[in-house]
């Protein structure tokens, strides 16, 4: 057994903590200190408290709340309204357009909706849940090995519930490692332990320099950070999430805390060969708390999650240099085309091209055309635009009823448009 379970049994928590700080996990300790410090600094920067008006729509009744700007979160709003909302709300929707974490402070006057797993269409919540599970899988994978095994987290592809498993790609300093059934079981139990703690997902937007400082021990993440920052519209920041003492890069949003995860299994670890050497793809499947499925049906899901997940394989950011940058004329042209098409099929409503997710590798194809699956297969799977690109087909299915591969990144469209777009 390569796991630290004996180590866990032998030493008390305090001894473990001291040992960890001195040893390999010193980097994590430092990362946490920096995170806490930065969070404190940002909290102090709020300054004089201003009030904002939050209009809540939904059950049990529509109310208007006066909250604190930069301090109050959607979770605080739920606390004012009902215990039921506190317990079940996994994600918030601001102004019907922006998905917001439950524990992220609100920044301006807004309309608020709270989403949960049993909505009529819980697409976004499911996706956030899958993403959260990926992060937890990463947290588990980083902790589970002995001190002498060098583990570096790489990244995870954009979450897609339909693939049947959530994924994290990890570099493990072992040759030809194939986990036994017992080892998988231990990993599952560790993950369950993590979920039962009910740890909050803390979101923090930090500058690139600080992020680089935090992830200096992880060469993959250090590579990714400038790339991710360059993709963000504002430029110089990246978004970090902390759960327990694990910190990771992700755009989010995540569900409120880890207690939303109910039944949970780590099903397989596959060896994958990539540009960046040999990585291990950890896979798992989980259901939200309160979703009871009999063991046979859950067994079917587990069996499916054992197969290698078809999510995009990781590549180094430097190999992706040819990124199509649309000019404003092209954007307006596409917007116009979109509107004409929508009018032709008899849709009432408004549509505009918000973001381009067109990624073209070969220079000779640098014209606007339909993007086939192969074109974006080789892009790295973290960062802002990649997340959208890979979801394009999924979104299309969601909004347009699955007309494969024709639409250009109809991505940031608010869910309220779903009705008018349904054909």
């Amino acid at each position: 057994m390569i796991f630290t379970s004996i180590w866990y049994k032998t030493f008390s928590r305090r001894e473990r903590r001291n040992a960890a700080v001195q040893g390999c996990a010193g980097a994590r300790h430092k990362r946490n200190l920096l995170f806490t410090k930065e969070k404190k600094r940002q909290n102090e920067n709020v300054g004089r408290i201003e009030k904002i008006e939050v209009q809540y729509t939904g059950t049990p009744e529509d109310v208007t709340l006066i909250m604190n700007k930069g301090i109050s979160t959607p979770f605080n709003c739920a606390q004012h309204m009902s215990e039921m909302l506190m317990q079940r709300s996994a994600l918030a929707l601001i102004d019907d357009t922006t998905l917001w974490d439950m524990h992220r402070p609100l920044e301006a006057d807004c309309h608020l909706r709270l989403l949960h797993f049993r909505d009529t269409d819980p697409y976004h919540v499911n996706k956030a849940f899958w993403r959260s599970c990926s992060i937890l899988l990463g947290a588990m994978a980083e902790n589970i090995f002995k001190e002498d095994v060098h583990v570096e987290l790489h990244s995870f592809p954009s979450p897609n519930v339909k693939t049947g498993s959530f994924v994290y790609d990890v570099s493990v300093g072992l040759d030809n490692w194939q986990p036994s059934q017992d080892e998988l079981r231990i990993m599952s139990s560790q993950m369950v332990n993590l979920c039962q703690k009910g740890l909050k997902f803390e979101r923090l937007e930090v500058s690139t320099e600080l992020a680089l400082d935090m992830f200096e021990d992880n060469r993959y993440k250090a590579d990714q950070i400038p790339h991710i920052a360059s993709q963000l519209s504002e430029g110089k920041t990246v978004v970090l999430y902390r759960v327990g003492d694990h910190i990771d890069l992700s755009r989010g949003p995540m569900v409120g805390d880890t207690s939303f995860v109910g039944k949970c299994t780590v099903t397989a670890v596959h060896k994958i060969e990539t540009d960046q050497g040999i990585l291990y793809r950890f896979q798992g499947v989980a259901l939200p708390k309160g979703f009871l499925l009999n063991h046979f049906a859950y067994g079917i899901l587990e069996d499916r999650a054992r197969k290698l997940n078809p999510g995009r394989l990781p590549t180094s950011p430097s190999s992706v240099s040819n990124i199509f940058q649309p000019t404003s004329e092209v954007v307006s042209l596409v917007t116009w085309l979109l509107q004409v098409t929508l009018r032709a099929v008899g849709c009432v409503g408004e549509a505009r091209c918000v973001h381009f997710t067109l990624a073209i590798k070969k220079p000779k194809h640098r014209v606007l055309r339909m993007v086939s699956k192969n074109d974006y297969m080789e892009l790295p799977h973290y960062g802002i635009w990649v997340d959208w690109a890979s979801n394009r087909n999924e979104y299309q299915e969601y909004f347009l009823g699955g007309k494969g591969g024709r639409c250009v990144g109809l991505t940031a469209l608010p869910p309220s448009f779903a009705d008018c777009l349904e054909i």
């Binding site: 797993f117 049993r118 009529t120 819980p122 697409y123 519930v161 693939t163 049947g164 259901l287 049906a297």
Partner: protein, 230 residues
């Protein structure tokens, strides 16, 4: 050896019940307990869904199950069953409901005839646990949320995708089998043609003819069963 099998003589309940009766505390003692149960049972048959204290609901449930199962077993021409129904049901028109409505409804029911749920209590409130007792197949909307109809819920998405994948896999297998069968048929036809042509060419090369005959046999085996089927 010669003793009767008791489980065959009595109706077998499909619910879990306590072997010791509850006394349902009241000033009239045992008789009062029966009176309480009769009232509750009558209300259950009348309204089909009632909310009450947990103990009383659980105690009544066994009696209701037994009464319905006897009614199904013996029918309305059985004196003992009719007396039983007359004793337990206070409002006599409900005896007609028992035999004419409930018996046909539960005739082929493989599970229990009643359902019981734990009901919420207002906090702070009474100490007693509350329960909802109902007959199956009642006309009211279901108490538990429907987790199957909405295919967008996460477990349904996962199961649907698993089903799709399974089907695709099965279709691929079937297609492969059909292709293999087709290949065999084509091969056997080709072999037959070649054999006839080689027979025409008066068997110049004997080894070649022998080889073809050997190849032909499995082809024939494939063709034969289908002929038998026809």
């Amino acid at each position: 050896m010669n003793q009767a099998d008791v489980s065959k003589l009595m109706s077998r309940l499909r619910i879990k019940y306590k072997p010791v009766r509850r006394r349902l505390k009241n000033p009239e003692g045992a008789e009062g307990r029966l009176k309480k149960i009769r009232k509750t049972l009558t209300a259950l048959l009348k309204h089909e869904r009632i909310e009450l204290n947990y103990n009383r609901a659980d105690e009544t449930r066994g009696y209701a199950e037994r009464l319905i199962s006897d009614a199904i077993r013996y029918g309305d021409c059985h004196r003992a069953t009719m007396e039983l129904a007359d004793y337990w049901i206070l409002e006599k028109q409900l005896i007609h409901k028992l035999f004419k409505v409930l018996v046909p409804r539960f005739d082929n029911c493989p599970v229990s005839y009643t359902r019981m749920y734990r009901a919420p209590r207002p906090c702070p409130g009474m100490y007693y646990k509350r329960a909802v007792l109902e007959l199956r197949g009642n006309p009211y909307p279901p108490l538990l949320p429907d987790m199957t109809a909405n295919r967008n819920l996460i477990h349904n998405v996962l199961l649907d995708e698993a089903q799709k994948e399974f089907r695709a896999q099965k279709y691929a297998e079937i297609a492969k089998k059909l292709e293999a069968a087709d290949d065999n048929v084509i091969k056997s036809i080709d072999d037959g043609d070649e054999e006839s042509s080689s027979a025409e060419s008066s068997g110049e090369d004997e080894t070649n003819v022998l080889g073809e005959a050997q190849v032909q046999q499995p082809g024939e085996k494939v063709v034969h069963p289908s002929q038998n089927m026809q």
